[in-house]
């Protein structure tokens, strides 16, 4: 138990819009151990980002965290005062945004932005902070950091900007890094570089990370554990190996089958029919049942599946998980 860093239980974050209450996150539980990388996977609108924003309590209006608990190092972040939260943000838990083009302030040079954060959380002189900032750039493998640090964001390429954003997130040695689709806005070769960088940094700095992605391939490359979200709920949670070898939730399977693979010479990629449900009026029972190929009449639309430990450390929220495991073994990925 002592190596548990973050434990979210039954988190509920709703958005109160004019059209109705959007249940973006509706009872998500997950945990992250020290030094572990958790891949948070799901479609757009499945609640991945809102979960991460909830951890730092920076959910934009009209969103509100209405229930559950977020234990970080045993303390409930939801009970902390705003002033104390400001000390957690950036220092204990840091966030990397999706689009590096807009996540750096355009009017300040990199040095100013890094030194500000370093001095905000640590008691250092300007010179010491600047030295540290240059070290950070070296850490995120920016060539010629003494020069590049004086650049403004508009002078840097996309990949370089994301490295700067990573450096900023790391500036106070956080114990937990929330990376919200850090590679989505980058082109493919740069994506691989940033992912490699994140992997090596995590080992060097021994920090835990939650990697949010809609790309199973990205999660496969980096994550130790994977939690799959669908419509604000956890579908399946297990080690990355288990998720790829023996996925039990129909949604996880569908996601994996939608990944292009060289080994399986399929003519066409499988797609998941339909789209993510309207989060204001959710389907009854299991939220995935209208799109599920395994759905059973009279069961799936009635019974809300609980997240159960089917095998050691393998949690699935599907009523038919055991039947599916017995009847149709997964042969999807090589």
């Amino acid at each position: 138990m002592t190596d548990e860093l973050l434990k979210i239980e039954n988190l509920k974050t709703y958005f109160y819009t004019w059209a109705g209450v959007v249940k973006a996150v509706d009872g998500v539980s997950l945990n992250v151990k020290k030094g572990e990388t958790l891949g948070l996977v799901g479609e757009s609108g499945s609640g991945k980002s809102v979960t991460a924003l909830s951890i730092l309590r920076i959910v934009p209006r009209p969103g509100k965290i209405i229930g559950g608990s977020i234990l970080y190092k045993g303390e409930n972040l939801l009970e902390k005062e705003e002033k104390q939260m400001q000390k957690v943000r950036g220092k204990e838990i840091a966030y990397i945004f999706q689009d590096p083009a807009t996540s750096l302030n355009p009017v300040f040079n990199i040095a100013t932005q890094l030194v500000e954060i370093i001095r905000h959380h640590q008691n250092l002189s300007k010179e010491e902070a600047l030295k540290k900032a240059i070290e950070l750039l070296r850490l995120v493998e920016i060539p010629d950091p003494e020069v590049k640090i004086w650049n403004y964001p508009h002078q840097l390429s996309g990949g370089m900007k994301q490295r700067m954003a990573v450096a900023r997130a790391l500036s106070c040695q956080p114990n937990l890094l929330l990376a919200d689709e850090p590679t989505t806005a980058l082109d493919v070769t740069i994506q691989a570089q940033i992912l490699d960088l994140l992997k090596s940094l995590k080992q060097k700095l021994k920090m835990a990370m939650i990697l949010i992605t809609h790309d199973m391939g990205v999660a496969a490359g980096v994550a130790d554990r994977i939690t799959v979200l669908y419509a604000g709920r956890v579908c399946e949670s297990a080690s990355a190996k288990t998720i790829f070898r023996n996925p039990l939730h129909p949604y996880t399977r569908a996601l994996l089958e939608a990944v292009p693979s060289l080994a399986l010479r399929r003519e066409k990629l499988k797609v998941i029919p339909g789209s993510i449900p309207n989060l204001i009026e959710l389907p009854s029972g299991c939220r995935f049942n209208p799109r599920c190929e395994f759905a059973k009449q009279g069961v799936c639309a009635v019974q809300v599946p609980e997240l159960l430990e089917i095998a050691p450390d393998h949690y699935v929220a599907c009523v038919r998980a055991r039947e599916i495991e017995a009847e149709t073994p997964f042969g999807g990925l090589s």
Binding site: Q86, R89, F97, P106, V115, E116, R119, D144, N151, Y152
Partner: protein, 311 residues
């Protein structure tokens, strides 16, 4: 109000590292401003008039309020000549010298009123845009009240009241400046609020929140620098407007009769426009030149600072 404004710690590049210079948005803007001839002309006009204000005793030909033509020749309203460059007015002042002495007063009202108006506009625009909700609603309704009242009329009423209430010896030009400033912030506040709303949604603001910045810091350290380009442009245009309003108020006889301003000169000239055209034309010309200068300068700044036009 609680909380302190965060300290400014913009880190600048040491001079010795010139290899790969960080190019700030300001240096880009200046480069573009230099290419704009109209804007440069505006800057030169404004510069020349500021120069005139600073060195007025050296430029003017006669002492302040000296009744040049009356004292020396017993005549008033003499036409322009080599002795009286712009002629003399209804009691014999040298019009040119009075224009020169008025420059400082005109700029004092212009800059002062703009400073007051812009400070109010910045604070109200920032709070309104950043906090949103109830605070926004309240501040914007107040702003609208200021927008719908007939500006000049209410200004004249308040000027009369303020001048009457102020103890003698106090006020004058300063009252005029204060009143103009207090009544001309509203439209600027709305524009700044709009800009804040735009900047607020950017991810770098969210990033600053996620890194532990307080609301105060977000507002003044992260949002304000990003709306500064708008504020600068609005300020130059506000100075021009304030100068025009002062001239109008003085012309209508609500200004400070004891200070020399170009508007006051216009008022004196209004009695004899046909007989002594020089008495009004020259002060009017200077008002036009100064306002033109500020407008060209402001428009040039807007073009240079607009992020959408960046190369």
């Amino acid at each position: 109000m609680k909380g302190k404004t965060p300290k400014k710690t913009v880190i600048t590049e040491p001079a010795e590292s010139k290899r790969h210079k960080g190019v700030s948005q300001w240096s880009i803007a200046w480069r573009r401003f230099k290419k704009n001839r109209a804007a440069l002309a505006g800057l030169i006009l404004v510069g020349a008039i500021v120069f005139m204000a600073i060195f007025s005793p050296l430029i003017a030909r006669y002492p302040v309020n000296y009744l040049a033509s009356y004292n020396e020749e017993g005549k008033i309203r003499l036409p322009p000549s080599s002795k009286y460059l712009f002629g003399t007015d209804y009691i014999g002042h040298d019009v040119f010298s009075q224009i020169v002495y008025g420059t400082g007063n005109v700029l004092y009202v212009g800059f002062g009123a703009a400073a007051i108006a812009m400070s109010l506009a910045i604070v109200i625009g920032l709070f309104s845009g950043y906090y949103g909700g109830l605070i926004d609603n309240l501040l914007m309704r107040i702003t609208e009240v200021f927008l719908v009242i007939p500006f000049l009329l209410i200004l004249l009423v308040f000027l009369k009241v303020a001048t009457a209430l102020a103890p003698s010896g106090v006020g004058g030009l300063t009252t005029v400046m204060l009143m103009i400033g207090l009544f001309s912030w509203a439209s600027n506040a709305r524009i700044i609020r709009g800009e804040v709303l735009r900047v607020k949604q950017h991810e770098y603001i969210e990033a600053a929140v996620s890194l532990g910045a307080s609301k105060w810091r977000i507002m003044f350290r992260h949002i304000l620098p990003n709306v500064l380009h708008v504020i600068i442009v609005l300020t130059t245009l506000q100075i021009a407007t304030a100068i025009l309003v002062e001239a109008a108020v003085s012309f209508l006889g609500f200004g400070d009769p004891n200070s020399i301003t170009w508007g006051q000169q216009l008022q004196g000239a209004s009695e004899a426009v046909k007989e002594a055209w020089w008495e009004g034309v020259f002060p009017g010309l200077f008002i036009t030149l100064l306002v033109l200068g500020f407008s060209l300068f402001g428009n040039g700044l807007r073009d240079a600072l607009d992020p959408r036009l960046r190369e």
